[in-house]
Amino acid sequence: MKPGSNASIRRLLRNEALPTPFCPGCGHGILLGAILRAIDESPWPLERYLFVSGIGCAGWIPSPHIAADTLHVTHGRALAFATGARLVNPELKVVVIGGDGDLASIGGNHLIHAARRNLEMTVICANNETYGMTGGQVTPTTPVGARTATTPQGNTERPFDLCRLVEAAGATYVARYSVWHTRLLIRSLRRALAHPGFAFIEVLSPCPTQAGRRNRQGSPADMLRALRTQCVPLTRARQMRPEELVGKMVIGELVGGE
């Protein structure tokens, strides 16, 4: 069976956990598929992996779907639990998956300290710019002007650039992609899994239910197409003027790439 094929990655899922609970049009299913393909193509068997996640929609990407050891913990604390497990058993391939609210808001302190320690683990932030599970409130990555359940007049606070945040904190592999860019994302995930340090990938993943509807962003397909135009590869972004980059998201391997 070809590693990374549909039939092959199906073996990495717990059948009894399917179908996933994600809303129609959610990007997290695409991200789950990308993670499974990267793992299937990695040199390590699934028994070596430990998936740690917190609370929120993204916390449900690995737990209970992936047929490996999974640790589904308190809101924002996944990196702390992952640190303990990895220190005790360095054989474990530790993968932390969380949303923007989980990893960057309530877990923000743990994020910068884990990056600073540069302990070997792969951290995937599924950024949908909202708290999906609790009804679409504003998060630290919600764009200025976006309407949410708690910013009905539009968000006035500036969002974090998560990649620059963890880079400044000391992460040694940093990348950003979207669920539109699956091939690039899978390649980046493979490199992150092989990286001998703290590897962080921000993955832009649309939330049609809570963010899209409120901001009239159209259908799930429209939101995916918008990601294509919003994202600018790093090589092209370097040729662009700052005013041309307003509202864009730079994608690529931002730190530690090949």
């Binding site: 999974t70 308190t74 005790v88 302190n109």
Partner: protein, 397 residues
């Protein structure tokens, strides 16, 4: 003091395969230590392999001692985390990776740990948390003793559960009760809290190091569900190909989330409560002084550092011809109800002395409604003279 030596497993003298004997790490015989240091040595002797902590007075000496000693011993991991939330979080991750894990703090840090204490309770994670209590609430007085966290330890996390809390009264017990805490945590798959206080933590006195340490060790899973079918299910570990599902959500015996099943919630909570409640006699340790020598005029009940003054006050009162005894509670949770009921039955007056506003008194009053309290919450210890005066004054009424 010799600071070398690795731990070896010695011949198993027990009929129960889960109880093992380890050689002591410190040389056997008398030692002279601070309470916090003895706690750290007790953890080392019990086989603690992971420690995570965050600085806080009056518990920092535990972390500093562990840090120095772990560096000399193979296979032990120390890390200072960014806060107390991360400290207990990493301990839980470490415990599931197969380690015996401990963290230590004081009241303000313990408050931060309550979130993940709840997680450890619902996931049945063996873990030792040391709370060297200081005067509160909030920052309070960092260097002053108190016993104000008794109810925080019992009811601080939300939801319904039972846990274990021990109250050491000496440097000896900071060593030996830390060892017992690890054994109870493994035996019942429950977080165990060592409720010390600043006075015991910073006390220096001699203690005896026994040559061997007997502790309970977790068993392998062997294909059984990690969260059910037994009162205390076997504790598995990550990295063994078990495909473990560990979640803080309500779950079934195999760890699958059951977020809207009334029967899953009822079954889980019932077992979390029963597995501790049903073993009060095995868990609870009390020590009675002068209680078997006929009916008492006054029974003092005390724990932690306060019990030292209480024992001295009892000796002084008996020297004056009064029939006074002491019941020392070395275990606070589960509350030793049967032992309290047995010893208070023959006493005309019961006085609970503690450095808080009556947290254990209220538990005793559930058994003896007429029980009286003597309390001090000014950051000073209760003195023996003071307790003697209380006994005499109340007996004059």
């Amino acid at each position: 003091m010799a600071r070398l030596g690795t731990q070896r497993r010695v011949a198993n003298m027990s009929a129960t395969p889960e109880i093992i004997s380890l050689s002591s790490v410190l040389p056997p015989g008398p030692a002279f230590l601070q309470g916090d240091e003895a706690c750290a040595e007790g953890a080392i002797a019990a086989g603690c392999t992971f420690y995570a902590g965050y600085p806080i007075t009056p518990a920092s000496e535990i972390m500093e001692h562990i840090c120095r000693r772990f560096a000399e011993l193979p296979g032990r991991v120390f890390i200072q985390m960014e806060d107390e939330i991360a400290s207990i979080g990493s301990c839980i991750g470490a415990s599931w990776a197969g380690a015996l894990a401990m963290t230590a703090t004081s009241g303000p840090g313990f408050t931060l740990m309550l979130e993940n204490l709840g997680y450890a309770l619902i996931t049945e994670t063996p873990l030792v948390i040391v709370d060297v209590q200081r005067a509160g609430p909030s920052t309070g007085q960092a260097t002053r003793p108190a016993q104000g966290d008794v109810m925080q330890a019992r009811f601080g996390a939300h939801g319904d559960y039972e846990l274990i809390a021990l109250a050491p009264w000496s440097v000896q017990e900071m060593y030996s009760e830390t060892i017992r805490a690890f054994s109870l945590a493994e035996r019942f798959r429950v977080p165990v809290i060592l409720l010390a206080d600043e006075a015991v933590g910073h006390l220096r006195e001699s203690l005896m190091i026994e040559p061997t340490v007997r502790v309970y060790r977790r068993r392998r899973l062997g294909g059984r569900p990690p969260f059910g079918d037994a009162e205390v299910p076997p504790m598995p570990a990550f990295g063994q190909g078990e495909k473990l599902l560990v979640t803080g959500s309500t779950h079934d015996a195999w760890g699958f989330r059951r977020t809207s099943s009334a029967s899953a919630q009822a079954t889980l909570v019932e077992r979390l409560v029963r597995k501790v409640q049903a073993h009060e006699d095995e868990i609870c340790r009390t020590v009675a002084y002068h209680c078997e020598e006929g009916p008492l005029d006054v029974l003092l009940i005390a724990y932690g550092f306060t019990a030292r003054s209480a024992l001295r006050a009892v000796a002084m009162a008996r020297g004056r011809g009064r029939r006074v005894g002491l019941l020392r509670l070395a275990t606070l949770w589960p509350f030793p109800s049967r032992e309290v009921a047995r010893h208070t039955a023959g006493a005309r007056r019961v006085i609970v002395a503690e450095m808080n506003r009556g947290q254990v008194l209220r538990e005793v009053q559930r058994i003896v409604p007429a029980a009286e309290g003597y309390q001090r919450t000014d950051g000073e210890i209760i003195e023996p003279d003071e307790l003697l005066a209380v006994i005499e004054e109340r007996e004059r009424r």
